[in-house]
Structure formats: structure tokens, C-alpha cells
């Protein structure tokens, strides 16, 4: 893992240094050394990676990024992180979601805070900010995008998000000045990104003692976010293999039938 990081840095440097005229073109994307378990026709999500990734999202990213389209009940459904029903309900209940008006018609409590209730499986993850304006104010005018579809909404998919998360520590090329209040990231278009480096080594401690360098944390959270963007990926691959086999067999039979039908006819 450490070697891979160093190799990545070396390659990153080698790729970045020819661009001495800081043109802001993003570097070619990085791929994690172990590859993505969900790629390819037989790809599946690794449950441990998904649970680690959920932990990274919850402890780090959720401070600024919403996950508006992911409902709690999906956390225990097949093809996902594989929490038990009880664990999923506990996770849901640990969140505060907006509650409707109480019997008196109030929507805020005595201190003016919106009324909340514990989350249920039917709820989606509540956002860290009540609206876009509050989110921008808290983040220097930039709007942290919702992450429910981020892996599908970017060219390069998981490799893009992984490159961004692990790309903050590349060496600044000569002659390039970082815009004030932004951060250098050569995988982002223009090389100036509004998000401060979110991950650091050992920031999230995984209960099972898995490695937690930046690259590991990034790998886990990107796996989780890939599931969040495409929760039915495993169904799709599994059914797809069956359909392809079926269609190849059927096409074979149709071909033999076609040949038999035309056997005695010149064409």
C-alpha cells in the first residue's frame, strides 16, 4: 500500500512535471492498486469495504455532503453493506430527521430549532444543511454536492472520485499558483478545488483493524459511494450473466433452426 502510494506520487510527478505551463488540464485518473471489486461482468461489492466506506462517509463526509437519495432500509437489503435489520434500524434511529408540526402546530422548538424525530427505515439520510444557502455559507460560497449519484455523475466514475480524494498531496507544479480559499488537486479541472483535503492517515478507525491510510479510507468510501449510486449493481450483474447465457443458447438454437429451414433451398 505504501509502495503503491509512492509509485502513485512518482507517476503523478512524472505526469505533472511536463505540464510546466500550468494549464489546469486534469491528470489521467488513478486506479486503486487492488482494483474495484464491482467492476467487470462478475463484479460484486465487498461487504466489509461497504461498511468501512459507510463509516468514512458518516464520520468525515457527512459533515458537508448530503446523501439525499439513500434510504436507511437499503442498508440491510441484498447487494448492499449487509447490515442486519436490527443494525439498520439502530442506524436510522441514530439520525434526527425533520418532524412535521406538533399538535400545537409548531415546527420549531422553544429555542427556534426545527423539531426533529428519530429516523425510521423509510427515511433517507438527513442533509447536514437545511438548504443550499446555508450549505454555501458554511463552505465559503461553494456547494458540496450531494453524493448519492456522484460516482455516476462524473467522467471516470469511481476512479475520478478516488483520484480526487487521494490527489491533494501531489507536488505543486512550478509556476502554478493556487487560488485563495481553494486547494490544489491536479485531478480536478483547473486544479483548484473548493473542498479542503478531507482525509488523513488514521482519521477513521475501523473496528476490525483494517488499514486506514488515506488511500484505504478513500478506497472504502468510494466503494460505498459506488453502491449508493448503483444499489442494484449485483442484481444487474447476476441477472445479466443469466440473460447472456440464455440468449447465446437461444441464438444457437435459432441458428440451427434457420439452417434446417433453409437446408433444401438455394440462397
Amino acid at each position: 500500500m505504501r509502495f503503491a502510494l509512492v509509485a502513485g506520487l512518482v507517476f503523478g510527478l512524472a505526469a505533472a512535471s511536463p505540464a510546466l505551463a500550468a494549464n489546469g488540464d486534469p491528470l489521467p485518473l488513478k486506479t486503486p492498486p487492488q482494483g474495484w471489486s464491482f467492476e467487470g461482468p462478475f463484479g460484486t461489492f465487498n461487504r466489509a469495504d461497504l461498511q468501512h466506506g459507510f463509516q468514512v462517509y458518516k464520520e468525515v463526509c457527512s459533515a458537508c455532503h448530503s446523501l439525499n437519495r439513500v434510504a436507511f432500509h437499503t442498508l440491510s437489503e441484498s447487494g448492499g453493506p449487509g447490515f442486519t435489520d436490527a443494525q439498520m434500524k439502530a442506524i436510522a434511529a441514530s439520525y434526527h430527521v425533520l418532524a412535521g408540526p406538533n399538535d400545537k402546530g409548531d415546527t420549531v422548538d422553544d429555542k427556534g430549532n426545527p423539531l426533529t424525530r428519530a429516523g425510521t427505515p423509510a427515511d433517507t439520510f438527513p442533509p447536514p444543511f437545511p438548504n443550499e444557502q446555508a450549505a454555501r455559507t458554511a463552505n465559503g460560497g461553494a456547494l458540496p454536492p450531494d453524493l448519492s449519484l456522484i460516482v455516476k455523475a462524473r467522467n471516470g466514475g469511481p476512479n475520478y472520485v478516488y483520484s480526487i480524494l487521494t490527489g491533494f498531496h501531489e507536488t505543486l507544479p512550478k509556476g502554478f499558483t493556487v487560488t485563495p480559499n481553494k486547494y490544489f488537486n491536479p485531478y480536478f479541472i483547473g486544479w483548484n478545488i473548493s473542498m479542503p483535503p478531507p482525509l488523513s492517515d488514521g482519521q477513521v478507525t475501523f473496528v476490525d483493524g483494517s488499514p486506514n491510510k488515506i488511500a484505504d479510507e478513500a478506497f472504502a468510501v468510494v466503494t460505498f459511494l459506488s453502491w449508493a449510486s448503483e444499489p442494484h449493481l449485483e442484481d444487474r450483474h447476476r441477472i445479466g450473466v443469466g440473460v447472456m447465457i440464455f440468449l447465446i443458447v437461444l441464438s444457437g438454437l435459432l441458428y440451427l433452426s434457420y439452417r434446417k429451414v433453409w437446408k433444401d433451398e438455394a440462397h
Binding site: A71, H73, T74, E77, D103, T120, P121, A122, F246, L247, V249, L250, L253, L254, L256, S257, K260, D264
Partner: protein, 184 residues
Amino acid sequence: MATTTTAETTRRDFLYIATGSVAAVGAAAAAWPFIDQMNPSTAVLALASIEVPLETIQPGQSVTFKFRGHPLFVRRRTPAEIATAKAVPVSDLIDPIARNENLPDDAPATDANREIKPEWLVVSGVCTHLGCTPTAFEGDFGGWLCHCHGSQYDVAGRVRKGPAPQNLAIPVYSFLTPTRIKVG
């Protein structure tokens, strides 16, 4: 087409039958998603079960919740109401069946068979006549009156005056804690 012997016919037909069968199986398998997509989605199923907090409901109060798209009445009965309900013989009732999904289909409509704890009545708010929502604390039996066609229910949600044919239905529910029930 050339004439064929029986043996050739069998060989050729087998291929066509095999092809047709495989295609038919495929068509049936392909049809299933089109049918299943009309079944309730996972979002709807997630709301198939609700949890109802009971702390804020006062004795003598009836609160209406939304459960599977319909009203659900949760009523905290006073001791007087409980006594009244228990005093009614089943033979006096229009509908002698308990209509309680937590009990067997033929359980009689005694007051005890209409709840888990006597203080709490949890009953569907859909009139068994034509589906209107009855109003609480109206009618001659202290329960509910349905304004659509005049059906009346008592404090155990049992029909006492028609045209409704059945007692208000009791859904599957259980106490998670003394102040919280899960319905559905």
C-alpha cells in the same frame, strides 16, 4: 419442400420444439419484471409498518395516524369506557367476530379480543360499509359515527348500528415498549 421420412420429421421437429420452448421460457422470464414493477416498490413497503408513540395521548383521547394510506384510530380509553365495552354481550352485536388480525379468524368479538391492553384501542379508521372515515365521540355508543350512511361503532370499535356489516378491523400490532406500538 422435399418430402421427408418420419425419422427426419422427428429430428427436425425436435429442434423446432426445443427452440420454441426455450424462446417461450425466455418470454415468460422477460415478462415477469413488467408484471412485478406494478407491485409495491421498496419505498412503499418501507412504510408498510409504522411505529406510533403513545406518550402524548390522554385518557379519553382518540388520535388518528396514517397507516398504509388509511386512517388508523388509536384511542386511550377511560375506565368507564372499558367497563361499558366489557359489559356488552356478544349476542347483542351485529358482528360477533372479533376481526382482529392478531387472533384467529373466528375469535368472538368480546372486548378482550379487541385489544392487547384494555386501555389502548388500535383500530382501522375505515368504515366497513363503503370505506368512509367515521368521526370519534359521536353516535349513541360513545365510539364513532360514520356520517356517510349513519353506521355507529362503540368504544371497542364494534358496529352497533348499520348499514356497516362488520366491526372496524384491527391490524397486526404489538407493544415495543409500554409507550410505543408497532403497527403492520
